[in-house]
Symmetry: C2
Subunit: 294 residues, 2 copies
């Protein structure tokens, strides 16, 4: 039995941990992400995973898109600057099953420039729980990559980039799908492309179709095209995010296959970024919220 | 009866004109574009449209993606610099029906930076047939917008931008689909966005997610989001294409709803671009090829 349950509920996945204090006793996951659920389907989707873990009323703490307007219940954004966690500001979700004491963590918003995050703040809380003295920049690569300025355990400002979603759309659904390989990597092509768009960001618009044309006019391997597309997008992102990383202490958090590319691009600029696998960070952040709320 | 047939065969459409010399006597079209056809399906798709027009062996001149590697037969690219048309360089396509004397116009390629066009060269030929003294820059907006430097009836250089395909992918398949309206237009939001990415192209990467966030954090109409997305992409394209248009005589050719946006963006930079509807240009170009080949 769990004395509380931690839940990371994103657009496409649902992960749940049975917890006793800070100790994990069980884990389940499903593909019942928020993106595919109607309002009434959240509670059954969760109970499918955790029903066996709970007896009497049990605290469940969830983060992620489950708190979006289209989620179980909307958990309001907190405006920057703010502490990464707010154990007193969880939103209680309505439930049918009296055993569920369901609480959803708020996201964070920024008025100018307009921006939002929902879920990443809990991963950040996990990183700060493990690195309590960290002051600097966190980069969380993904579908929507976040660059976050952290000072004194507060989120000072942040900016979101769609590079991950652009990479997926361009490599799978645009004319570039004929040129970009699914596997393999060409580190030299990546580095060259990062340098091009970082120094001259307008080249992004010009070089994208060039990936298609290069394969028609001359030789270009699918691995090189894939690495070049990624490099062009990440270089343009770094050009826009320069105020975040230039001369800063940067840590890159997330899927190691993604953090490796961002870290490589940053090393090309003379930085020495740290990398941390993102898997465990959401759980660490949810645990931080639970423990602080006791 | 036709004494020759003009065919504009793109990825998604097939258009055919029955001709007597330079005079159009009939027109048919279908959605049997090159993108959906297997190699053996080209001849039947064409005969469906033009079978009634031809008796004895008849010259058919086609332009567009029908000449791609995946088309009826590959019509080699001609390298720049080159004249826009090459009546002597048509590729004969194999046919079952002896009445068909099927010829496909070559595309144009460029080695550095790598680029290709296939179909646009014939529209350009049509424009030059109507404006024989034109020297300057042609902009052909579309899925893959072309900027083309024309001098003395030759294509000197060109560059392709994927802004149209990016707009479609982002507005229909990315997270921005929730923010971007299908209808309406906000000219002020468009002009503001063009200015942002034209002066600071790195803002494209930063401002895309901002379109989503702006609607969550504050008010933003779907029309404004649509116009801003278009403006951000066209502004970034203009920044990259600046060597083409700066201080030049520019004509924008194509679908009037698209040319209007490009022309508006160029006027914001102090230019006075001409606009020409693209419908008739392919036919004018095919006619030019036919007449010169007589």
């Amino acid at each position: 039995m769990a004395n509380w349950v931690a839940v990371d509920w994103g657009t496409s996945n649902l992960r749940a941990w049975a917890m006793r204090g800070a100790v994990q006793v069980d884990f389940e996951q499903s593909e019942q992400g928020m993106g595919g659920l109607t309002p009434g389907a959240f509670e059954p989707a969760l109970m499918d995973l955790i029903g066996d873990w709970i007896e009497g009323p049990t605290r469940v703490i969830a983060c992620g898109m489950v708190g979006a307007r289209q989620g179980w219940v909307e958990a309001a954004y907190r405006p920057v600057p703010c502490l990464v966690t707010a154990p007193d500001a969880l939103t209680k979700a309505p439930t049918q099953d009296a055993r569920l004491d369901m609480r959803i963590a708020p996201g964070i918003c920024q008025a100018e420039p307009p921006d939002v995050m929902r879920g990443e703040e809990t991963q950040i809380a996990g990183y700060l729980a493990q690195n309590p003295d960290f002051d600097g920049i966190l980069c969380l690569p993904g579908t929507h990559t976040k660059w976050v300025h952290i000072s004194a355990a507060e989120v000072v400002s942040f900016r979101t980039f769609m590079s991950g979603e652009l990479f997926a759309l361009l490599s799978q659904h645009s004319v570039l799908r004929h040129s970009v390989g699914a596997d393999g990597w060409d580190a030299e092509a990546f580095a060259d492309a990062v340098g091009q768009t970082l120094s001259r960001p307008e080249r992004l618009a010009a070089e994208l179709f060039g990936l298609r044309a290069a394969g028609l006019v001359g030789p270009q391997t699918p691995e090189a095209a894939k690495a070049r597309l990624s490099g062009l997008l990440i270089g343009a992102e770094l050009a826009a995010a320069r105020p975040y990383w230039l001369g800063q202490d940067v840590a890159v958090l997330g899927d190691p296959s993604l953090t490796a590319h961002y870290a490589a691009a940053l090393r090309l600029q003379g930085l020495a970024p740290r990398e941390a696998a993102g898997d465990a960070l959401a759980l660490a952040g949810l645990t931080e919220i639970y423990m602080k709320g006791q």
